[in-house]
Symmetry: C2
Subunit: 213 residues, 2 copies
Amino acid sequence: MRAIIASRNSILRLSKYKNALNRFQKLGYVRVFSDILADAVGGTSAQVRKDFSLFGIKGNKRGGYNADELLGKLNDILGKNTRQSVIIAGAGKIGMALVKYKGFENEGISIVAAFDIDPAKIRQGGDIPVFPLDELKAFVKTNDIRIGIIAVPDIAAQQVFEIMVSSGIKGVLNFAPIRLKETADVVVNNVNVELELENVIYFVNALERTGSK
Amino acid sequence: MRAIIASRNSILRLSKYKNALNRFQKLGYVRVFSDILADAVGGTSAQVRKDFSLFGIKGNKRGGYNADELLGKLNDILGKNTRQSVIIAGAGKIGMALVKYKGFENEGISIVAAFDIDPAKIRQGGDIPVFPLDELKAFVKTNDIRIGIIAVPDIAAQQVFEIMVSSGIKGVLNFAPIRLKETADVVVNNVNVELELENVIYFVNALERTGSK
C-alpha cells in the first residue's frame, strides 16, 4: 500500500464511510454509490470520490463500488485488518467504561491493560488487568504497544503523557480536559465531553436569549 | 447581557479559557494575562483578546485581567451561573459512565434522569432514576428540560433524537456513531470515541510506514 500522510479530516471521513458501509452491508447492500455514502456521513458525493481517489480506490461510474471490496480497502487503509493493542492510563469511571465498551472490540481494537496510581484499583481479574502506573513503561516496551489512552484527572495528565512518550507510545487519545504539551513525533487526539456539552448548553441558551425557536 | 451568536470554535475556546482560569485560581493567581491563557489552551494572545473583546470583556494592558472577574464573566456567557438539568437516553455502559462522572457536577451540569427501552435497566434507586423510554417526552415537558444526551446504539439513535426534538429538547450531545438528520432549531454536537481512536491508530501506522520517527 502507498504510504500516504492524509489530513486528519479525510481520515475521519474514511472512518465514517467505513462505519456506514458496515451498516449498508448488514442491510444486504452489494454495491454502493458515492451519493448514498455522502448522505450517510453528511458530505457530498464529489467529496467521497475525491477521498477515495486520494487513496487509489476506483469506482465504476455505472455500478458504483462493490461493498465488500470497498470495505476491505478502507479497513486496510485504516489499519483495521490487524488487531490493535491499546493500553489505558486511569482506571476510574471513564477509563473503566472504555474498558467495558464493546464497540472497540468490534473495530479490532483491544484494550489489553490499564494502569493506575491508586493501589485500591490494582487487580488481576475482571475484564482486563489493572497494574500500578510505574509498570506502564516496562509493559509498553515488552508488548510493543503503540497506542495509549489517557483517562486520568487533568493534574496528572501531562506527567502520564510524558511517561507514555518515553515508553515508546506514538499515538494518544486524551480524555483529560487539558492541553498536553505535544512532541512532534506523537499523534494526540482529544475527546472532551465536558467542553462539547458546555458548547451545546451555550448555544441553546444563546438561541433562547435571541428569541429564536 | 448582549445576546451573541458566536461561532462554535470561539465558544469552545471560551470553555477552555474558563477551565484554565479555574486551574490558575487554584494555584493562587489573582491576575492573569492573555499570553498565559493562550499558552494554556494552545492559541495566541491576540486570539484571546479578540475572543474576549467579542463578548465585551476588557482587560488592562498593564495588569491583564482580574481572575475572579474574568471567571465570573466567562461563566455568565457560558450559562454556568445557573444549574443545567440534562437527561440521557440509554442506560448502557457509556450512559451510566456519564451519569457517574463527577466532572459534570463540578461544571454545574446535573443529569437528572436516564431513559432506556430495556425493562431490566429501569430502576428508581441508584445515582439517578432510569425510566422507560416512552416516559421521556412527558418528563422533558413537565421538567422543562432543554438538553439531552444520546447514548443508545446507532440503530436507535435517529428515532431517539426525533423523540427528543418532539419533546422540546433544543440541544443534543450525541455519542452514537451515526449522523443524525438534524433540524434547524436544534443544536447537535457529536462525540465519537471510536472514530477518534481509529484516527490516532491510522496516523501512527502511516507514520511508521513512511519511516518517520
